[in-house]
């Protein structure tokens, strides 16, 4: 009976304190992941003051026995009044969207090729994909500075071959940011795609060919539709974190590269405006909450 095999009931008896076991990681995440958001929300309604901590309290204990609530929407109004913030959100959306598409195209061809490689090569190729995924993000972004900067390796190489005469200005532009994002997030795209493509039944393509479908058409009508779960997972894994990316625009982008992660960082570390930084975070979270939930749903489905 399949019904009984997945029935988790007897596991109740495995841990006598079943609820205690659930509670350990649950409470940890509640306290250190969920609770912090409540503070961000709270502080986003506070006012900046010169004090430690640099924000006002929402509850004012006055003469009456009930505290009065002094919440201000000023921070949010501020975000909408200064075009910088709106532009930064829109620019982040644009950069995240375009780089997700580009990463998908490059990642798909690599994942597809690894999945179709001869068996004995596949393990080592997969390993080569995973390796950069483990290597420090910061270091990988840093590696591109030496290549892309005006007197960098790329320009030196191109000029010595004679393709260009004047160095290309790539560093500190949006182009450098795109290169950095694609480079850093490529493994996140390849892994779910590979996991999906590797499982795909090759006889489906043979069946398509047998029924008179050309390989290219079979790719579009069989392979691509079947790999949609992998595509979705990969795109979520790239799009969502890129929306809040800080390191790449900070190190590779120029002054005109606007991304909301960098704005948040600046508000917090340089302007010391915690309430505005919180409002920026809350708004970013509001944009991302739907994609994050979709991602969670797709992952749960994939596991079960």
């Amino acid at each position: 009976m399949n019904l009984t095999q997945t029935n988790p009931n007897f596991f109740k008896s495995i841990f006598n304190g079943r609820n205690a076991v659930i509670a350990i990681p649950y409470i940890w995440l509640l306290l250190l992941f969920l609770l912090p958001f409540i503070y961000v929300l709270k502080i986003s309604f506070a006012e900046t003051i010169y004090a430690r901590p640099p924000y006002s309290s929402l509850l004012i204990w006055g003469d009456s026995w009930l505290p009065s609530i002094k919440a201000s929407f000023d921070n949010y109004l501020f975000l909408f009044s200064d075009s910088l913030y709106i532009k930064a959100y829109l620019s982040s959306l644009k950069i995240a969207f375009i780089s997700t598409i580009l990463t998908l195209i490059i990642g798909y061809s690599i994942a597809y090729s690894v999945a179709r490689a001869p068996n004995r090569w596949r393990g080592i190729l997969l390993m080569l994909v995973i390796l950069p995924f483990w290597t420090s993000f910061l270091i990988r972004v840093y590696a591109w500075i030496g290549i892309l900067k005006t007197e960098g390796l790329l320009n030196l190489a191109l000029m010595s071959i004679g393709i260009i005469e004047k160095p290309l200005m790539i560093m500190n532009t949006d182009l450098a940011v795109y290169i950095g994002i694609i480079y850093s997030y490529l493994p996140f795209m390849i892994l779910p795609l590979y996991a999906n493509l590797e499982k795909m039944d090759m006889s489906l393509l043979e069946a398509a060919a047998d029924l008179g479908c050309r390989p290219f058409k079979a790719f579009w009508t069989v392979t691509i539709p079947l790999s949609i779960p992998g595509i979705m997972a990969g795109c979520f894994l790239v799009f969502i974190p890129v929306m809040g990316e800080f390191v790449i625009p900070d190190l590779l982008g120029g002054s005109e590269t606007l991304m909301i992660g960098k704005v948040l960082w600046t508000e917090f570390f340089y302007n010391r405006d915690w309430p505005v930084a919180s409002a920026v975070a809350i708004l970013l979270l509001a944009i991302l909450v739907v994609p994050i939930m979709l991602y969670q749903r797709s992952q749960e489905k994939a596991i079960s």
Partner: protein
């Protein structure tokens, strides 16, 4: 099995049942897996729970082991209510369908695992493991890991492990399901020998009716959470309680008939297929014109080209298909109304001289005591 011929404690009212399943119900949410089931199993029985997948047999077994909580009712073992005892405290062991051998332990460690949980002295554990290895003839494989064993060897390790603690009751979940046919048949006999030697009560779950017939003292046929019939293999085969049981156990021809009363031969039925009266010795309590069925096993149908001497219980047809099975052949005979009946005949002659072939006009005949009359 010679002494087993006499072994029938369920007929002896002075015998106390060893396992008593009393009005047990199991629900998974809205779904009722076991529906108010009551069953007694006696000491040293080899009891089979047989039924199609989803009939609740595995659920019942898992309730005996303690992996499923009983929704209603109770289970007694040797007079003691075990319903609330957690699995690791029950004197019952189970052999799993997947064998569930611990992959990180050797054969020896797997067998010793249960004994170690009881904190037995080391020398006693070693001695028992030795015994068990000898019992299943795996002494040379003591230090192998499960992934270095064949399917049959894994099966025997699983058996040895579940027997090592000398349980009062051994539960076997499709114990031979993963073996190929030849090995399965051989292992059936080994299982019976071991069961007799150790005098342990076995309850086995299987969907393979041949296996159940071979090994069991009694069979409980289950369907959608209910026990349909509990009887010895021979009774189940020769006197099934209804069409479903008859159909599930072995091959059978089931024909519809109208009850026309009794006469000196026995029950008279008007057959729908031959449009004539057929006779069965079995007596039934029914009223005239009641609809009922009679079941005839293919090997009990005589097939011949010439008209039989008796003039009752005869059906006429044409050979539609022949399945040559070596020691016997199965003939598919198409009646005039289009129904196809199966008849089996032992191949006593060599094929060349065989005189039955496709499209032959044949007569099927059976003795009045060969058919079973079924009311439902």
């Amino acid at each position: 099995m010679s002494e087993n011929i006499q072994f029938s404690p369920w007929l002896d009212s002075s015998q106390k049942p060893y396992i008593q399943i009393q009005n047990v119900t199991k629900k998974f949410g809205e779904f009722t897996a076991i529906d108010n089931l009551t069953l007694d199993i006696y000491k040293n029985e080899f009891f089979s729970l047989l039924g199609p997948s989803g009939c609740g047999k595995t659920t019942l077994l898992r309730m005996l082991a303690g992996f499923e909580k009983i929704t209603q009712g109770k289970i007694l073992l040797d007079g003691e209510d075990i319903s609330e005892i957690p699995p690791h405290l029950r004197p019952i062991n189970m052999m799993f369908q997947s064998y569930a051998l611990f992959p990180h332990m050797t054969v020896e460690k797997n067998i010793a695992f249960g004994l170690k949980q009881d904190n037995l002295p080391t020398n006693e554990i070693n001695q028992r493991v030795e015994e068990m290895l000898e019992l299943v003839e795996l002494t040379d494989f003591a230090n192998r890991k499960p992934n270095q064993l064949s399917g049959g060897q894994s099966q025997r390790v699983a058996l040895a492990r579940s027997l090592a603690k000398r349980p009062k009751l051994l539960l076997l979940d499709e114990p031979l399901g993963a073996l190929d046919k030849r090995l399965r048949e051989q292992t059936q006999f080994e299982l019976m020998d071991i069961q007799e030697k150790l005098e342990v009560t076995f309850v086995i779950v299987t969907h393979d009716q041949e296996e159940a017939m071979t090994v069991s003292s009694r069979i409980g046929v289950m369907d959608s959470g209910n026990l349909v019939q509990v009887a010895t293999p021979a009774e189940i085969y020769e006197a099934p309680i209804n069409k479903d049981v008859a159909d599930f156990i072995g091959d059978v021809n089931i024909l519809k008939g109208i009850y026309k009363g009794q006469n000196e031969v026995g029950t008279q039925l008007l057959s729908e297929d031959s449009n004539s009266i057929v006779f069965a010795t079995q007596e039934v309590g029914a009223s005239i014109e009641d609809e009922m069925w009679f079941a005839i096993r293919p090997e009990k149908l005589e097939i011949s080209k010439t008209i039989p001497s008796h003039n009752h219980n005869i059906l006429k047809g044409k050979i539609e298909d022949i399945a040559y099975g070596g020691s016997f052949s199965t003939y598919h005979v198409k009646l005039d109304n289009g129904r196809i009946l199966k008849a089996i005949r032992a191949n006593r002659e060599r094929t060349k001289e065989h005189h039955l072939t496709w499209n032959d006009e044949v007569y099927l005949q059976w003795a009045p005591h060969s058919a079973v009359v079924l009311l439902s």
